[in-house]
Amino acid sequence: MTPRKIMLLGDIGVGKSSIVRRLVFDEFDHNYKPTLGVDVYSCEIAPEASTETPPAKFVIWDTDGNFGDSILSLVYIREATAALVVGDLTRPATINTMLDLGRNFMQAMPGRYCGFLLNKSDMTGDQAVLPPELANSSIPAVRTSAKTGENIKHAFLAAADAIRRRGL
């Protein structure tokens, strides 16, 4: 099976690299190290339960948060099958950026899968009030924590499932 290309989008410092490193290496680094340009991760993820579904192969494009909306017009996003758009639960502005990026991705690449990751769910004391647009959005959202690993694998497997169902 050819690996499927998934974009990891979102504002600076929301934890995109931490999410993909938790998925690929099962590790978390407390020191913030911004991504400049693009890091392309190759990985294979086995389903959570023992099923006949084969492992999902991914090429995950971890992008520089500075790209903003311009990422949608760059070569990096060509033929992506899905995007997971990340917001930081402790910074409301990044949730709004996440909503905009998700909406714009769906417009730029119709038919592809898109999911929201509300990251840093472990920081329970600092969480921002979520905007009502999030509840009304057709894009599914899940709370994640790269630090604890909460829902990280689940989010990528949900994307793999959607990609398979849509024949992408």
Binding site: P3, V24, P34, V38, V40, V75, P132, A135
Partner: protein
């Protein structure tokens, strides 16, 4: 072909006699050996056929391009289209490929169509050095850290300001409570004196009257303390965010009101939102109850309006009752302030406390052009 002549991707070059080409080749070899660039020749089926330079060492000969370079997965058609437009270049700048096997260097990839091949030129994203990248990283990390510190300082300033306001409110509250609870206490003391003198003089009738009054003042004191308890417990602990259909909420409040002689009208745009559900219910219910309770005529009306602004709801409860004199518009929200004297005077104090705890504000507006009635306006943040 003579030994001195070589087939290159750019045609046949006579290296023995062409000094310039020989020097160019030598310069290219030096740079490729130092890892400044590399070249890869790829056939029409996107299989790697030749490579040159240590930067391309990770690419296997006779393997598929996508297996060697995951970053080109999905771009196969774009690479093949280069033959349709021979002058065009497909660039994938600034990528680093990472897997469990290791972390690759940050590279610029550029694809060209040359004769029957595709040529991939690989170069370091920072011109052969990772210094610029590391510097940029550190600058960005510092900016992020500074932004975090600035945000925390701002939060601290805000917390200090809130603390000062809370202290001032506490002082005001203590002063009001002391003053208002003193009155029934004074009455109790006076009545026990009166009771004592009535008993001494054998005036049983007067003693009975004083005892009744004593019980009445005791009940009043107990009622005031209960109201005070309700006021002090109203606040942040009830602040749970839940999805609320405000149209359903207001309809439910109106439906639950007791039989009344007033017309209740609901107007405006009542949206669905995620907000502090219980406090919003309490605020609306209290304001509507208040408007009904203090109305002095049959056949009047109470109008409840919601205006949906981008960042807040503007909720207005308007009645055509006796109104509130402008000089009482501020003090009406203090504990134990009842204009009509028919209640403990804690309802509006609790309402204001809940609105403030939710981050909103409340004020009174006299009804424009009318001698009667009043409007309570609440700005409820979204």
């Amino acid at each position: 072909m003579p030994f001195s002549q070589q087939q290159t991707p750019f045609g046949v070059v006579d290296f023995e006699n062409d000094v310039e080409s020989r020097e160019r080749l030598r310069a290219g070899e030096i740079l490729a050996a130092r890892g400044a660039f590399a070249m890869v020749w790829i056939d029409h089926a996107l299989i790697v056929r030749r490579r040159f330079g240590i930067l391309a060492d990770f690419i296997k000969l006779d393997a598929s391009l996508t297996a060697c370079i995951p970053a080109v997965i999905g771009l196969e058609a774009d690479i093949k289209e280069l033959h349709e437009a021979p002058d065009s270049i497909l660039r994938i700048p600034n990528v680093s490929m990472i897997s469990k096997a290791g972390i690759g260097p940050r590279l610029n990839l550029a694809f060209y169509a040359v004769d029957q091949f595709y040529v991939l030129v690989i170069s370091h994203a920072s011109g052969g050095s990772n210094l610029e990248i590391e510097l940029s990283r550190q600058i960005r990390a510092r900016l992020m850290a500074e932004a975090t510190v600035a945000a925390k300082s701002q939060e601290l300033l805000l917390a200090n300001a809130e603390l000062r306001i809370a202290n001032a409110k506490l002082e005001q509250f203590a002063s009001i409570v002391t003053h208002d609870l003193k009155a029934p206490m004074r009455a109790l003391c006076h009545m026990t004196d009166e009771l004592g003198s009535a008993v001494s003089s054998g005036d049983v009738e007067k003693a009975r009257r004083e005892l009744d009054e004593l019980r009445h003042q005791g009940l009043r004191l107990s009622s005031m303390l209960s109201a005070l308890l309700r006021y002090s417990s109203a606040g942040p602990r009830e602040l749970a965010i839940e999805p609320v259909d405000t149209a359903v909420l207001v309809a439910e409040i109106v439906r639950s009101l007791p039989d009344r002689q007033l017309a209740i009208k609901v107007r405006g745009n009542w949206p669905r939102l995620e907000t502090f559900a219980a406090p919003l219910d309490l605020v609306l219910r209290n304001l509507i109850d208040n408007a009904i309770k203090h109305h002095d005529r049959d056949g009047g009306s109470v109008i409840i309006t919601c205006t949906d602004h981008p960042s807040a709801l503007e909720l207005a409860v308007t009645d055509d009752g006796p109104g509130i004199a402008p000089e009482h518009h501020d003090s009406i929200f203090l504990p134990f302030r009842s204009i009509s004297g028919t209640s403990e005077g804690m309802g509006l104090a609790i309402v204001q406390k809940m609105v403030a705890a939710a981050g909103g504000a409340i004020h009174i507006r006299s009804n424009t052009g009318q001698s009667r009635g009043v409007t309570f306006v609440v700005h409820w943040p979204k």
